[in-house]
Amino acid sequence: MTPHLTDANLSAILESNDSVDESVRLHIVKCGVCRAALATAKAQEFEVSQLLELLTVTQPDMDAVKFVRGVVSSRSLARAQLRRTRFRHIVRGAVAASILTASVAAAALTPSSVLRRWVHVAAVASGLSSDQPSAQAESPEQSPASQRGVEIFPHGRVDVVFRSNQSSGVVRIVSASNAEISVSGTGDGPNYTVGYNTIIVSNQPGDSLNFVVGIPQLSGSDTVYVRIAGKTVYSNLGNHVTARTPADHNGQIILPFQNLRR
């Protein structure tokens, strides 16, 4: 007579495994002890299954396509943000290098205290100094596709330049929650050129596009200018605002292109 069933034999039978040896099957037929062991194992398996089934929950309604689209979208934004941040670091590094090189050259001709201050300001402006708030450099805000933005560095100046005066449409100046000065347009018509401290909107005289210029809270010596076709229509020096039109009850300044004709 073959020996009693092992756990391996029992589990193989429970799995309905074809590899179970014929002698094992014959043993079960003849051996009451092993038949009982197999019955117990089956009962245990069933009982545990029933108990685990009690842990049932309504599963969340998840749409596969929407989920994956969401992941793709979030990852694309993250990559764009990373590229933008890297670009800023490169620009800052290049600007800082050139400024610091120039400052060393000028050092022989300049009183040391002035030079130190100038170098400090240059370092701050280029983002190499700790005076630069990291939140600005790593702003998590994402811009829509039609929006372009630049940071304003401490003691810095940013010019927002609209190349042409349109026959209609407005420029709306609003408060921005992020650290960037941004321009967003209603359509994909104009080209945007973003420089170190300028945003140039290449709109056309016949366009009737609307634009929103977002301006964050500025510090004492920061300056922002908005110019349309060479005319300064808005200036903001440390939050002291001068504009062609007054702010409305929402605090927005609306500058109609047509008004510039007068």
Binding site: T6, D7, A8, L10, S11, A12, L14, E15, N17, A41, Q44, E45, E47, V48, S49, L51, L52, E53, L54, L55, T56, V57, T58, Q59, P60, M62, A64, V65, F67, V68, V71, V72, R75
Partner: protein
């Protein structure tokens, strides 16, 4: 899955095929439907970030989500009620006809959770994945154990669970 299927479509397809099962497995493992949902979704996010479909996607998802669960447990994100079983997840449900039956079912559920929590992770995985219908071969691949050993380990886990369940009941 055809090799020509774009990656994002492949991920969508895998999500459709595996999310429900993965969620159930994780829910039974951790006892928290919100955490289970988060972990299951995070596993799919990792799959997307991976950039290619693994050779055994189902096993990969289970392994990743189990590791995420282990991390969550380790960092204390897992809520205390899961181990103590004092408060049942309100979203869990069993169809029962009366308040008495519901009370008994609720106590049994808590006991099942508490007993599961006392078992080693591999035993829990074996029981829960087997309950999800995985074969010995699949369990072996997913858990990285010899297929020949799966049955024996599963049998022992089943006995350990039942024994602990009876002991927990007799203590009450």
């Amino acid at each position: 899955m055809g090799p020509e299927l774009p990656f994002e479509d492949a991920v969508s397809q895998l999500f459709g095929q595996n999310f429900a099962s993965l969620f159930r497995y994780l829910y039974r493992l951790c006892g928290d439907s919100d955490l289970a949902s988060d972990l299951a979704q995070e596993a799919f996010v990792r799959l997307y970030d991976r950039g290619s479909v693994p050779h055994e996607p189902t096993g990969w998802l289970i392994t990743v989500s189990t590791n995420l669960y282990r991390d969550a447990e380790r960092t204390g994100k897992r809520r205390a009620r899961i181990t103590t079983g004092q408060q049942a997840d309100p979203s869990s449900h069993v169809e029962v006809p009366s308040a008495d039956s519901e009370l008994i079912a609720s106590e049994t559920r808590d006991r099942v959770r508490a007993v599961l929590a006392t078992l080693p992770l591999r035993d829990r995985q074996l029981l829960l994945l087997r309950h999800e219908g995985y074969s010995y071969r699949e369990l072996g691949r997913i858990l990285g154990i010899q297929e020949a050993s799966v049955g024996t380990l599963l049998l022992r886990a089943t006995r350990a669970f039942q024994s602990a369940f009876i002991t927990a009941g007799s203590r009450k």
